[in-house]
Subunit: 355 residues, 2 copies
């Protein structure tokens, strides 16, 4: 297959982890006879520096002309004092909205070799295996009116039935390929949008008789993610709750540095990026953990290109390298062999070539 | 001193834990020469059953004629299908709003004897000692428009400068009596209300030069509460974020059954209730842990009545009983002696009489 990929390295460790993912993609292309055409473009702080715009038109054009987007990370204290429209994260919000990437998909899976670095007791964190499906283009993030005066501030939480239907359907579809359980998280005892959300989930579930559905209040979900995370299979929720709960979930297994994410729309087009941030403090030091970026590339192969074998090969290679005792400095697990970013990538590629 | 206390037992285990707290208050009254005049009234599901109203006028009148309110818990699946205005939690929302109880104060402190029941590793949870200060009468919970149609739902997040100022001041005052650090949690990279919030915190901090202030994004706070909870002293945040984060925080030390809360306004009047819910599954079985209700009564003595010695005596008595190895069935800690609600209360009162 021939595919065009927009590569947006972004800021901080973004470039080095994206480079790592690209090397892995090149190895896959060689081995499986694909051609990946790469279009590099700027986003976030580096785009603000170069073009005074966190999402320049050239970047939008490069993405439009591609089959998928691979992103590193955006942000850094350098741009923290910028006005809103010149902040790195505005690039992220704009690209999600521009391409209608309404479904943010974040798998969180315990990796036995890394449980030692989890803040949770091993018996609580082990065998955690969930996917958080967060609505990404509506809700409090984008609702109008959204403004402030000298005396007050206002944000608006709006959801239409259609916006809820499509994200809920996405969650049901994912649950079907897994353990068949959807936990829909809302605050239906307080919010009108949540009442509509719950109603839509109840309606849509008729189309997925094979999937079990439960409703959970967001405050309760925030507790259960810690006290009993194994109960979750697929969690679906609105934008703001999803922001909070997916970050909470990202630390429970101790493998934040390993977590990939996808932000997709219904036709398969999507943006793939590590869950971790731009970590400016270790940028350029060949220390960053490239696993999340590499696993994001694997998600891209599977979800946007339908390359299931190739995606699985990457995932297995990364896990093998970890099981062989190699890791990067972010994972402080006793008895592990800490290696540089480059060395880790080389190990993954060697593993891929061996398979 | 003579004080009138409105006692609202509520639903589920509410009545039995409130009874326990009342017994402890009576012991305090005897010993310290106070008179506590109690006015019992209905709230929540039991008020819906009796008066078709989760917050009857009689209850409002009893509270108005009191110096403070002691509440058990509300809710239960029996009322889950009721329309919104006849749901137990509506009683809670209404009483907060009616009495302008804008500051919800929730201490979370690790209890060494109970760390075994924490889902977190002992080295992460030990020595946690924070207070979450949540704005309770504004934001998404109450903002208008708040409605739904067939096709969409809408909720409104509004904050005025005054609403933010008073809760932020409350947090600064509390920090002064503790380690002198305030973490203000918002989502200033996305929400206009959060930008105003952050601005107000920056303005108010000038009046508290002895207090250190940091700003943290809500998604990041949700992670750090798990990975490094000891960094927090006083956390202040808006209503919806506070709902989520305070429940998350309530489980990290393994002592949810021990946590009290206060919901107060500026003149010292307040409502005191356990953080745990109504637990209908164990109601009436003499199994419930009365500690959170008893410690809520202690918070009432300190905060609403200025009875610092008496409050400290109660807190010490509860801790002594725990250290002596007694606990209720909710705390599954090895080597503990599990006793009934009644027996636990008797132990606490014996301890009080010994002091
Ligand atoms: C950077 C920020 C705007 C963004 C969000 O809140 O969506 C981030 O936290 C995320 O989760 O991708
Ligand atoms: C019952 C519910 C309305 C309430 C809230 O969300 O405020 C509860 O969760 C709480 O935190 O006291």
């Amino acid at each position: 297959m021939k595919k065009t990929i927009a590569v947006l390295p972004g800021d901080g460790i973004g470039p080095e982890v994206t480079d790592a993912a690209v090397k892995v993609l090149q190895s896959i292309a060689m081995r499986y006879g694909h051609t990946f055409h790469l279009k590099h473009a700027l986003i976030g702080g580096s785009a603000v520096d170069a073009h005074n715009n966190p999402l320049p038109d050239e970047t939008i054009a490069a993405c439009t002309a591609s089959d998928a987007i691979l992103l590193g990370a955006v942000g850094g204290s350098k741009w923290d004092q910028n006005p809103g429209h010149l902040r790195p994260e505005k690039g992220l919000l704009n690209i999600r909205k521009h391409f209608d990437l309404f479904a943010n998909i974040r798998p969180v899976k315990a990796i036995p070799a890394l449980l030692g670095s989890s803040p949770l007791k091993e018996e609580v964190a082990k065998e955690v295996d969930m996917v958080i499906v967060r609505e990404l283009t509506s809700g409090l993030y984008f609702g109008e009116p959204k403004r402030r005066t000298e005396k007050a501030g206002i944000d608006t939480l709006v959801y239409t039935r259609e916006e809820i239907e499509r994200i809920v359907d996405q969650a049901f579809e994912i649950a079907r390929t897994r353990r068949g359980k959807v936990t829909s998280v809302d605050k239906a005892n307080v919010l009108e949008t949540s009442k509509l959300w719950r109603e839509v989930v109840e309606e849509r579930k008729a189309a997925y008789p094979d999937v079990e559905v439960e409703h959970m209040l967001v405050d309760s979900a925030a507790m259960k993610l810690i006290t009993d995370p194994r109960q979750f299979d697929v969690v679906v929720t609105e934008n703001m709750f999803g922001d909070i709960l997916s970050d909470e979930a990202s630390v429970i297994t101790g493998s934040l540095g390993m977590l990939p994410s996808a932000s997709v729309r219904s036709d398969g087009f999507g943006l793939y990026e590590p869950v971790h941030g731009s970590a400016p403090d270790i940028a350029g030091q060949n220390k960053a953990n490239p696993s999340a970026a590499i696993l994001s590339a694997a998600m891209m192969l599977r979800h946007s290109f339908g390359m299931h074998t190739e995606a699985a090969a990457i995932e297995e290679a990364v896990m093998s390298v970890l099981e062989d005792g190699y890791c990067t400095g972010d994972l402080s697990v006793e008895g592990k062999h800490v290696v540089s970013t480059d060395r880790f990538v080389t190990k993954v590629i060697e593993e891929l070539e061996r398979e």
